[in-house]
């Protein structure tokens, strides 16, 4: 019985010695760090290192189970913790590398897009410039042609005016340029038929008028002296103006640019009491009005 009691005591002491060992801090940390790593980016980005850490942790756990809080358990726990940290660090590095590559790819894409846009803009700008250049060249040619044409027209007009000045007076008034032809040069007294010589003179007038500003308009005004019935004079002046106007149209003056109007004796320029004054009053005036 005593022997049995002694054996029981020995077993109790042994049991106490093999009781629940204290968890070494290295193993506690290893569990904690592994748990964190297995729930972080390492789980997806770096499963290989995480698996190695798990195997080390398992070895530490095994050692703890077999040997309790031994130096070996602590060493294995220490290594397992570092391996879990290594798995985390490598996962973070992989993440940083992937992000860097993404940034570089984005930068290249943006640069490429910008370069394409710039090239397209450049092409468009060049096309616009070429188009404008062409238009300017055309305009330049047209301008030169117009300048030349006007110079020639002015020269011809000057020549025509000089020709007209031989048999008519030309004055510049506020209502326009006034070409005054004596009635006796154009018509027989009391008639509205042009004299043969008058037609030659009107040819020069027509030539001068066609060389004028093509946008100007003209009015042929008929005037008489005060002798005779006013109604007759009014009618005579109208018919004479119309005759001159029609003749000028027949010689090339555009019909829509020229009109005729008779004023009878209402607009005198000379004294109707004298022969000279009456001669001056019997006249045809062509008023050339520039475009307003």
């Amino acid at each position: 019985m005593k022997a049995l009691s002694t054996l029981g005591l020995i077993m109790a002491v042994a049991s106490a010695g093999c009781g629940a060992a204290t968890l070494p801090p290295e193993l506690a940390s290893a569990r904690s760090v592994y748990d964190r790593a297995s729930h972080g980016p390492a789980a997806t980005l770096n499963p290989t290192d995480l698996h190695t850490a798990k195997e080390s942790l398992d070895a530490a756990e095994h050692s703890f189970k077999e040997e309790g809080n031994s130096q070996v358990t602590r060493d294995l726990g220490y290594a397992a913790e570092r391996q879990a940290e290594t798995a985390e660090s490598r996962a973070r590095a992989m993440q940083a590398v992937a992000e860097k590559e993404q940034i570089i790819a984005g930068m290249h894409a943006a640069t490429e897009t910008q370069a394409k846009a710039s090239a397209a803009g450049l092409v468009q700008a060049n096309q616009q410039l070429a188009s404008k250049d062409q238009a300017l060249q055309v305009q330049g040619v047209a301008l030169q042609t117009e300048v030349q044409r006007r110079k020639e027209a002015e020269k011809r007009a000057a020549q025509a005016a000089a020709d007209i000045a031989k048999f008519a007076s030309i004055k510049q008034e506020t209502r326009g340029m006034v070409i005054t032809l004596s009635g006796s040069v154009l018509f027989t007294s009391g008639k509205s038929d042009l004299l043969p010589a008058a037609q030659l003179k009107l040819n020069d007038v027509a030539k001068a008028l066609t060389e004028q500003d093509p946008e100007s308009t003209m009015v042929v005004e008929g005037h008489t002296d005060s002798q005779g019935a006013a109604a007759f004079n009014q009618d005579l002046s109208q018919r004479r103006a119309q005759t001159v106007r029609d003749y000028l149209v027949s010689r090339g003056v555009a019909s829509d640019r020229i009109s005729a109007e008779g004023f009878g004796p209402t607009r005198t320029i000379g004294d109707n009491a004298t022969a000279e004054g009456r001669a001056n009053n019997r006249r045809v005036e062509i008023v050339v009005k520039p475009k307003t």
Binding site: T52, E55, S56, A59, H62, Q71, V72, D75, L76, Y78, A79, R82, Q83, E85, T86, S89, R90, R92, A93, M94, A96, V97, E99, K100, I103, I104, G106, M107, A110, T111, Q114
Partner: protein
């Protein structure tokens, strides 16, 4: 640390029990020293956390050498397990820092490029 190394470590007590002698940990020593050297080569000394780990590895390697000198190969073996784990962590931390530095440079370069590409930006 490979699965093979872990299994080897687990089997070592058994081998020791049978043979009554623990082999000198030549390969673990070489592995730990190589890992520490690699960590320094990639710049572990320039990064505080990595530097701490690689220094710990150095200390444990030195302790392991002392243990071998005293004939305690078992203790040396486990010291080298710790040393290698520290050195490999230092290496990983140094790599991580380099990767973060590269990423930061890419961000700055990208910002500069985008700024230069913005219409109306001052060159």
């Amino acid at each position: 640390m490979s699965k093979r190394s872990i299994l080897l470590l687990a089997a070592m007590p058994l081998a020791w029990a049978c043979a009554k002698s623990w082999p000198e940990p030549k390969q673990p020593m070489a592995d730990a020293e190589s890992a520490a050297r690699s960590a320094r080569e990639v710049g572990a000394d320039a990064q505080p956390a990595a530097k701490l780990k690689v220094n710990l590895a150095d200390e444990q390697i030195a302790e392991a050498k002392a243990s071998i000198a005293k004939g305690d190969n078992e203790r040396a073996t486990y010291l080298l397990v710790r040393a290698r784990a520290d050195a490999e962590l230092a290496l990983a931390l140094a790599h991580e820092q380099n990767a973060l530095n590269d990423k930061q440079k890419a961000i700055e370069q990208s910002n500069l490029t985008l700024e230069a590409n913005t219409p109306g930006a001052t060159p």
